[in-house]
Amino acid sequence: MKKKTDPAETPTLPKSPTGITGLDEITGGGLPTGRPTLVCGSAGCGKTMLAMEFLVRGAVEFGEPGVFMMFEENAAELTANVRSLGFDLDKLVKQKKVALDHVRIERSEIEETGEYDLEGLFIRLGHAIDTIGAKRVVLDTVEALFAGLPNHGILRAELRRLFRWLKDRKMTAIITGEKGEGNMITRYGLEEYVADCVITLDHRVTKQISTRRLRVLKYRGSAHGTNEYPFLISERGLSVLPITSLRLDHAAPSERLSTGIARLDEMLGGQGVFRGSSVLVSGAPGTGKSSIGAKFADAACRRGERALIFAYEESSAQILRNMRSIGIDLAPWVKKGLLQVHASRPTLSGLEQHLVAMHDMVKAFRPAVVVVDPISNLMIEGSDAEVMPTLMRLIDFLKQEQITSLFISLTRGGSGTGAQEDSQVGVSSLMDTWLWMRNMEFNGERNRLIHVLKSRGMAHSNQMREFVLSDAGIDLVDVYPGADRVLTGTARVAQAAHERSAAELRREDHERKLRQLAAKRKAIEAQIAALNAEGEAEEAEVKFTIAQETLLEKTTQQNSADMAQLRGGGKGGNSPKKGTP
């Protein structure tokens, strides 16, 4: 299985980079230097484009001029055709970086008598090579000679000699060939002569959607990826999506990114998601998934980072309008160049083609945040088994680039549970954070709920929150967990009101009790005072009695003394002064 290697592992075989995105990775550095490579495929699969890009990039980026010898199109046609890829052949020809030679051969004009060889072709090619000091050669499509020359015996011998000759001259060459039938790779068996490296291109249509694929069938003396890789011909040339990077070695930054929704960040350990992680937002239709995506992009732009939204449901104008209605204004970011929205129909091309395109745009725009809305639309035409590896490629790629990604996925069905979670299992295993949105139907209304199903590497809330969209934006509100269901929407509001009045009642009750207590205390105090007063009164009474009795005793004593005096007249004139009793 492991076929992908570093160029460093095979130092013995020198390679010439093609400059074609992805192809150099698959081949571990490019095509074999100084040897011919056969590129074959059916009509319209991009052979000429690949060969041309190899040549132009060689001339422009790697300082290796090249000769393009064409047997089918003429120079003017070719120049016009590749202008769509942004290559200006006229200029390159003037700069002597590229030489074009159109070999035309008309069977009707030619009569054959006796022996001949194709020395003329060698001379032409040799002359072109010498004129510009070429290092690269393309022969497109040499098989046209089979139609033009009746004697195939001579032709085959000469082609064998030609490829030998190219090798001797150390030309890194691409020979294109039509796809053959049955076991034949090419129609005329060119693979017999060009055996160092064979690349096949394919243009397949499944379920009405076409995908271009490339495969390195053979690479003598070098390890290479043997899988089929989807590729794309865009205005930036070819790009091949090298996948299934078997390594899982991307860095894991611990920096956290806000999702743009404070309460959601709170649910995700208080700080949001990790930079470079992948977030899946899945849910039924109308649960507010897209708005989370938009908010996420908006938050990135607010931080001054670039965000890229791939939209497969709405046009970009529609997204801008709709998001404005919930208080997310994306238009200024678009104007500032911080935000790009790429809207396309999912059925425009195959999933892989889409991924190549995404790959391309991400490479060109270099965003910090990517939102895909929704991936489920891309998946309609493929089975899970097909979709998984392709998505894995994309996620791997984004992680390698430290781009935080948010994938929106639409699930089937309404408010049931279980089924939707299952339907996402395939994709969710690739995701670091999984937010699940659902509708709850209760009490005559539909409300949105959000919860965090998983979030790798951080504490996260196990609570459901109600997801509220208004023209002021997005908010998450605590729900009331009841005995057997959570309360949302008006039920939540009613419950809140109910709880508020209950609290009010309780408060009044407490006050009443306190008042009662105070009154009671007052009564007791009054009683105490009365008792005290009674005590005091009694005490006064007692004192008075005592005083009375003392006086009485005194008086009695006085009286007895007086009487004794009177009776005895003895001891002095202590006459009674006090007349009081």
Binding site: G114, G120, H127
Partner: protein
């Protein structure tokens, strides 16, 4: 019947190889036999002037090109088959 026509012929070769020598000898003989006095032969050695190969779309060597009369005709090979050369040049064979 074709007395008024002039045949302008160009023979492309690559150096003094056996094939080119044979071709030239064959051409000379055929022209002398059937087109005496009405032809002109120009031999182009592409090893000397490779830039001339593209003009007449030369691929195989030797190639004989009938530049005039129009249209251009090409005969490839060492011209060993006289009959086919005459057909290729569109020349009526002289009948003795």
């Amino acid at each position: 019947m074709t007395k008024t026509k002039t045949y302008e012929l160009r023979l492309y070769v690559a150096g003094q190889t056996a094939k080119s020598l044979t071709a030239f000898a064959n051409l000379k003989r055929i022209c002398e036999t059937h087109l005496a006095g009405q032809y002109r032969i120009e031999v182009i050695d592409l090893t000397q002037t490779p830039q001339l190969s593209a003009g007449d779309q030369i691929l195989a060597l030797p190639t004989l090109v009938r530049r005039l009369p129009q249209p251009i005709k090409k005969i490839i090979g060492d011209l060993s088959n006289e009959e086919r050369v005459l057909v290729g040049l569109d020349v009526q064979p002289m009948k003795d």
